[in-house]
Symmetry: C2
Subunit: 293 residues, 2 copies
């Protein structure tokens, strides 16, 4: 049980965390700060936060748990802003989708005060942003990856695990580098492809006709193209090496299929589609692929 | 009201059409043929068809409505097989996802008997194949594109429109060529990308870890990668020029995003993601994009 959550960034992710923590009875009071005063104001009116703080530093004053829910590019500045009130007793977490850059920012901003900071990535989200979509259920049933570094305090890692589990999450740990490599592959790349796909269509003169004929396959495939531009811009830039490496591997796989189509290689094409189809069919969210193929 | 449906191909699409037609009270009897006798047998046991025919030709004997629900590559052979029992009074349709090749097959197989054939593409499907997934609701609320040619009889076009409307579909007409161009863009391309995406991941040594971390974005984006290999092999090959042209445009859009990431062009990257995000957000299935952006 915490006395006070200091929430820095009162958007979808931060607001949902505050609502979930309150509903679970894990916090008495939420003090919130957002860059835009109108966001903080709305968060208070909605009951997402109890008190508006005029700065990130003041949101942390008196807090025993702090959540940084800002675009990853704002991590370093936010940590610098709160550094003077960071104590070895508090639990500080973020919710960023990339972790190597977050760890780097924490090292740079907090230095030897980085012990209470546990980098966290809850795998959830919506194709809508803003506190008005905050939802106490956003984290329920989701996976949360913790990426502690050598300086991270064990007590805070345990606390972080307990908090997320109390919100209904499954918690696993990995290194920031392994995290970023894996999420470049299963999350950042498909977002990049979905954005490129929509832009490729939108640039054609017949795009209105195209879009009017699109069906349920298009709908599901392109859903993630509705993601928040600033968030995704930051993710691509902060994880650029891994994202570009995955995009290169993807293009090789695409060119291989194109070549089989161009040459009319019926069996080769069927074999590669079968590989994809069976792999996808046997995939279960959050589990392993079944063995044997 | 029809007396007898001759169903050639008793899989998901054909079986669902038979069930829907029966439920709507539009047909008295269904005679079915499948290449595999076990499929036909199962279709009869399930009540999808009433009588098993030993050949495509015999499935058409006595039919006043015929549905060809076979892979598009089998269209010409199927039409040749039934040609001798085709009459100017019957309504013959297919459900193929590509239309220029189907029209070519009809011209070649039926010649001056092509009048009663109305090429049709109902925009629906499942990521599972086979008569065991046949569903009377598969076509409800879906769009159906008719692509009649110069020889197609007006009476049959009207009948085709009425049948699909009675099953709960919206019906539109366009040329086979416009159809294939549009569906290369909004359906065939995303399937190709989804197959390439899964294969790109599956080929990496850490793929088991990757798949275990995949979340809801991955799930929706890759759903269509579970499609039937033979169906999609045929679609890509029969519409190869349009598919390859769309894939080329896509790769240009992808390389443009990659270049902005590589050079760290924050604003340019945000602008292109914003274009994609707004376009996708304003898209509504089966409707036009909203104006003003």
């Amino acid at each position: 049980m915490f006395e006070q959550l200091g929430l820095i960034g009162c958007g979808l992710m931060g607001g949902s965390f505050a609502l979930a923590l309150k509903r679970a009875g894990l916090v008495k009071r939420v003090v919130g700060y957002s860059k835009s005063p109108s966001t903080t104001d709305r968060a208070r009116q909605m009951g997402v936060i109890d008190v508006e703080a005029p700065s990130a530093l003041l949101a942390v004053a008196g807090a025993d748990i702090v959540l940084l829910a800002v675009p990853v590019s704002a991590t370093e500045a936010s940590l610098k802003a709160i550094k003077h009130l960071v104590t070895p007793q508090m639990l500080i977490m973020d919710v960023g989708s990339t972790k190597a850059d977050v760890v780097k920012a924490a090292r740079s901003a907090l230095g030897d005060k980085a012990g209470p900071f546990v980098p966290a990535h809850p795998i959830t989200g919506r194709e809508v942003a803003g506190v008005e979509h905050a939802d106490a259920d956003l984290y329920v049933g989701r996976q949360v990856i913790l990426t502690p570094i050598e300086r991270t305090l064990t007590a805070q890692i345990r606390q972080a695990e307990e908090v997320w589990k109390a919100l209904g999450c499954r918690v696993t740990s990995m290194s920031p580098e392994s995290h970023d490599e894996a999420f470049a592959a299963v999350s950042h790349l498909p977002h990049l492809l979905a954005f490129a796909f929509i832009n490729g269509l939108a640039g054609q003169p017949q795009s209105d006709t195209f879009f009017s004929l699109a069906g349920p396959g298009f709908r599901d495939f392109s859903r993630i193209a509705g993601g928040d531009p600033k968030i995704w811009r930051d993710i691509f830039l902060s994880n650029r090496n891994e994202v570009l490496a995955q995009s290169e591997l993807f293009r090789q796989a695409l060119l291989q299929l194109e070549q089989l189509i161009r040459s009319g290689n019926t069996q080769g094409l069927e074999d590669l589609i079968t590989l994809a189809s069976e792999t996808r069919t046997h995939w279960r969210m959050g589990g392993q692929r079944s063995k044997g193929h």
